[in-house]
């Protein structure tokens, strides 16, 4: 067990290290001089050079990389060129929007998908299965930002139940804030739920064909009990894998969805920072998102071990 844990942990850390090098390298070749950007077009070459020195941009690359990583580790992400505030403050502020959004969406998607998948698998081939899988098939095909537009049209423009976009901030009261996160979360969650429901169903059906299901039924357990006690846990492994992948999708999805709803979240921040060449923000946020994805995958790997005793005793 511990060997498995340590190995997964080591792999995650190595991936994280490599990822940081990639991010740093990519931004090194990104065109645009931050010093020039900060000072504007009218600044003289001397002024730019002076600022470059101050910002440490003229130091050797390895040194700058180490400096950057050191900063990340001590939560000192540097200062944003465009906003002129510490990046950590920006991130903290935006995370307060994006994290709840992603979590609500993930929860919503799981809560919808797993029961639907179970329902469908247990009535395979019958009307209920056909209808819910037809809906899932459609759900998979819908781009989340278009779905978001349709939601806005129906619920904000037409029914006027929720705001069409923007975020009042948590200061305006939890309910107001949640209300403005509701549509975005639904827009993010439903297409993911459709995928997850399909995976859950097919994983269950695969497991239901296994010999040990027949053994369980030969004990006299009713079908329903066999489904819950024997099939579900075995089917969790592919479901967990997809859940892990979906977290990455959700993070990326926030970039578009936050743009659709004008939400001041991390996705919108990184998107704007790229267009404004605010490299230090891009670096930090991208690294943060990548670290989140790696961490979630680590959790998924570890949960495999909880579900499957064979992994616990293997290396």
């Amino acid at each position: 067990m511990t060997a498995y844990l340590l190995k997964r942990l080591a792999i995650s850390l190595a991936t994280l290290l490599l990822a940081s090098m990639v991010v740093f390298a990519v931004l090194e070749i990104l065109p645009g001089d931050p010093a020039r950007l900060m000072l504007g077009m009218n600044a003289s070459a001397d002024q730019v050079e002076l600022l470059r020195n101050q910002m440490g941009l003229n130091a050797p690359m390895v040194w700058r990389y180490l400096h950057w990583v050191g900063g990340l580790l001590s939560l000192d992400f540097g200062r944003s060129y465009t906003y002129s505030v510490p990046v950590i403050d920006l991130v903290r502020e935006r995370l307060a929007v994006s994290l709840p959004l992603a979590l609500i969406a993930l929860a919503l998607s799981t809560i919808i998908a797993i029961p639907v998948g179970l329902f469908s698998a247990s009535r395979r081939g019958r009307a209920g299965d056909t209808i819910s899988m037809g809906a899932a098939q459609l759900g998979v095909a819908v781009p989340n930002f278009w779905f978001a537009l349709m939601l806005i049209y129906v619920f904000a423009v037409w029914l006027r139940l929720v705001p069409a976009g923007g975020f009042p901030g948590w200061g305006a009261g939890a309910w107001q804030a949640l209300k403005s996160l509701l549509l975005p979360a639904v827009a993010l969650a439903l297409p993911q739920a459709a995928i997850l429901a399909r995976v859950t169903r097919s994983a269950l059906i695969e497991v239901l064909n296994e010999d040990y299901i027949r053994t369980a039924r030969a004990k006299g357990l009713p079908y329903r009990t066999v489904l819950w006690r024997h099939a579900l846990r075995n089917a969790m492994i592919p479901v967990l894998t997809i859940l892990g992948l979906q977290f990455a999708f959700l993070l990326a999805g926030t970039i578009i969805i936050e743009n659709v709803f004008y939400l001041p979240g991390l996705g919108r921040l990184v998107f704007q920072a790229i267009t404004q060449r605010d490299l230090i923000v891009v670096e930090s946020v991208v690294m943060l998102l990548v670290a989140a994805v790696i961490a979630v995958n680590l959790v998924v790997d570890l949960s495999y071990a909880v579900v499957d005793p064979r992994l616990r005793s293997r290396q």
């Binding site: 792999i11 190595a14 991936t15 994280l16 490599l18 990822a19 990639v22 990519v26 070749i29 990104l30 065109p31 395979r124 081939g125 098939q137 459609l138 998979v140 095909a141 819908v142 781009p143 930002f145 278009w146 537009l149 349709m150 806005i152 049209y153 423009v157 059906i205 695969e206 064909n209 492994i237 592919p238 894998t241 992948l245 990455a248 999708f249 993070l251 990326a252 999805g253 970039i255 578009i256 743009n259 659709v260 990184v270 998107f271 790229i274 267009t275 891009v282 991208v286 998102l289 990548v290 994805v293 790696i294 995958n297």
Partner: protein
Amino acid sequence: MTLHVDIPEETFSSILAKAFRNTAFVTGFVITLLILAMAVVSYIWTPYDVTKLVIADKTQGPSLAHWFGTDHFGRDILSMIMVGARNSIAVALVAVGIGMGVGVPLGAFAAARSGLVDEALMRINDLVFAFPALLSAIMITAIFGPGAVNAILAIGIFNIPVFARVARAGAMAIWPREFILAARAAGKSSTQISIEHVLPNIATLLLVQGTIQFALGILAEAGLSYLGLGAQPPMPSWGRMLFDAQTRMVVAPWMAIFPGMAIVITVLGLNLLGDGIADILDPKSRRQR
């Protein structure tokens, strides 16, 4: 996780006969064919010229003259959807080509070599997977500038590990088979075995993944051009049309509805096609029916 690869043992004609009895396959096939035909036709003919702005006709609702209405420059939405299809299909298809072309040999190689080579390739895969695809696509387009070619590159790169993983998992399931051992006893090298025995046997798996990635590519392209990072105006693209529609939702909802429907139907068609192929060729799913 182990992947179970059942090898269907059938002839081409019996597969074909089965295909036409499979509703998912037929529906998906017809939709895909229609969308492709639409894109091809758009080269020769569209109801209206999509490059001509007719301000007098701006934001008109659906009518006999303009089935899907017009946009804020008076362009015919149907014509734009037709031309936009080219762009979506080209981007997604080439991206699948890149993914398959690089990913499949990598995956097959990793499975054939196992050990250190395999481990290294899989770690690189992990690395690419750590970057949410859209985020990286944004970074790539930010470096090289927006445009259809860079969108292809961005989506293509992220198809590589997907195909590598599928090919590797499929190949790993084929390698322990006795017929591989027999080929080794006949003195075939691992490259020969990969080409002659492994790839033909995982082809259906790759075909199914191909349709899935094609569909995902359409979605990703729409997302990128919605953010202004895909094909640039005046070239119409479905994502861009949705972006233009967003601020005019109240006055001209059709501007958003029809391009979105085009995306949904295309993706739906491809997914049905993939499901159908998997259904027809996978003996296990047949057993369930």
